[in-house]
Assembly symmetry: C2
Homo-oligomer: 302 residues x 2
């Protein structure tokens, strides 16, 4: 495969690090790198505190099952510190990205590698260049020189769209859990917490995310997730006024994330999901359901 | 009727003013007062800038059709000024209420009246006393002395619940437009604009409200309305990132507003409503649908 040859040629006898979130893009990129340079690859899993329940453990154990050498960086505190007080969506993305590459840059140095391999795909580059949003993993295209973080970047998938990446995953013999995996944003739950990102608010969203993933698993969807609003709304708990959190449920169908349709969720299921949310997360007193396609909305809120 | 006799006895040979929004409560209270004291009643319609499209004209012409002497107070600027910079729900309610009674107090003085008649009903008093929210027309129960505004208060309906008020309306021979009228909050669109209330944001909500009222008119509902969030979300317009407004659709069934069920809106209709919203209000890029009963939510968001 062409990208493997490129990795071999670039890295030569040196070492490389790949950042892997467990998503299909970064897992495919890491597999290609492993096949290209074998043990001279270190796979890094950055636990940024923004992952879904049980996700870090599950991903790391899967990657180790593929024979990869994986290091986990427990960096939640650094991410929360960099996000403190920030409420603007783009500022949050920038803060996340800066912390991500600083943390990673330190690790690249520690390992003694020159290269960072990551799973940027074509849609990330197109959307960033087109001004739709700044994908957190798109650096050179927006004029960020990665040498400030101490490494050169290799992006073996940057000419492929999502369906092609899934095809490569199948070709590499990766399990369906990977090849058909639902996309999850690079900055994780962080961009689904509107307004300030605090550990408490991420924890509320993490619980709601789990409920929505469990309760809608029988519905086909490209992505299914919860969003926590910064707006709050009045509610009634035990006969008293409360000022509760608002959660939005979002399910979309899509081929390549460039356009998307809101999934029709049966009303009985919406009611069942919201009941579980109110029972299990007392801070939440209102559930909304997003009925918007892309365009005019994006899939995510930020 | 008992309340008419009370109004007669209290007001005596003096004058009274009634504040009428055109809702069933204040229209019934004004009708009772008119029957009790005839021409010594002046009905005031406060145009606070927070009404629905065409509402002030329609209400005033209806009240005049009932033979009432109606004065319109064009006070939008004063309300917007008092709300400027306020984002907390309770602060907004307090600012609205203070402006409302100041404006009205001036008018009571101008007319030379001693009494203000208003359509407070039992649910308003119960919810305010119970701490669910501060109804804007409940004053004495929360320790506000109306003499600061220059009048004494008469509340002929304060022992009745909504279904009883509707029965009185029918008994008085008021048309169905009044007796079966959908409730509308005292502070109007103001409490459906989350965050700061500006003329521009109220205008966006006014357009969305009209669309929802028109498109859902065939569905039975106790209330049907739109909410404008202060949170915004990313969207795509003409291939470029936009940061658009979020509108929530809310329809509820209820008997007395003390409890309520979210109305199931067919999916095709949700899509049709949202399409009209995006076509007619380019500032909006996302539509949500509220699926929450009361409790745990309240009917309104603030």
């Amino acid at each position: 495969m062409k990208s493997m040859a490129e990795i071999k040629r670039e890295v030569g006898d040196g070492k490389a690090v790949s950042a892997c979130s467990g998503g299909v893009d970064s897992t495919v990129a890491s597999c290609l790198a492993q096949k290209a340079i074998g043990d001279r690859l270190t796979v890094i899993y950055v636990d940024d505190g923004m992952r879904r329940e049980g996700e870090p453990e599950a991903v790391v154990s899967m990657l180790r099952g593929f024979g990869m050498r994986v290091r986990i960086l427990d960096a939640g505190d650094e991410f929360f510190k960099s996000l403190k007080g920030k409420i603007d969506a783009e500022e949050k993305r920038l803060a996340f990205r800066h912390t991500f590459y600083s943390v990673l840059g330190n690790e690249v140095k520690r390992v003694g590698a020159d290269y960072l391999i990551q799973g940027t795909i074509a849609a990330d580059v197109v959307e960033t260049a087109g001004g739709v949003k700044t994908q957190h993993n798109v650096l050179e295209q927006i004029g960020v020189d990665t040498r400030q973080f101490g490494f050169k970047l290799l992006e073996p998938l940057k000419d492929l769209y999502k369906p092609q990446v899934r095809a490569v995953a199948r070709e590499l013999g990766l399990p369906e859990d990977v090849s058909e995996k639902m996309p999850f944003p690079g900055p994780g739950l962080c961009i689904r917490v509107l307004g300030e990102v605090t550990p408490e608010r991420v924890e509320i969203l993490r619980k709601a995310t789990k409920i929505i993933e469990e309760e809608t698993s029988m519905l086909p969807a490209f992505q299914r997730f919860a969003v926590l609003h910064s707006d709050r709304a009045t509610g009634v708990r035990d006969g008293k006024r409360s000022y509760g959190y608002i959660i939005t449920l979002r399910l979309v169908e899509s081929e390549d994330a460039m356009t998307a349709r809101a999934v029709e969720v049966p009303y009985y299921l919406l009611k069942r999901i919201s009941k579980r949310v109110f029972d299990e997360i007392p801070e939440v007193s209102r559930c909304l359901y997003d009925i918007t396609d892309k365009p005019p909305a994006t899939i995510e809120f930020e």
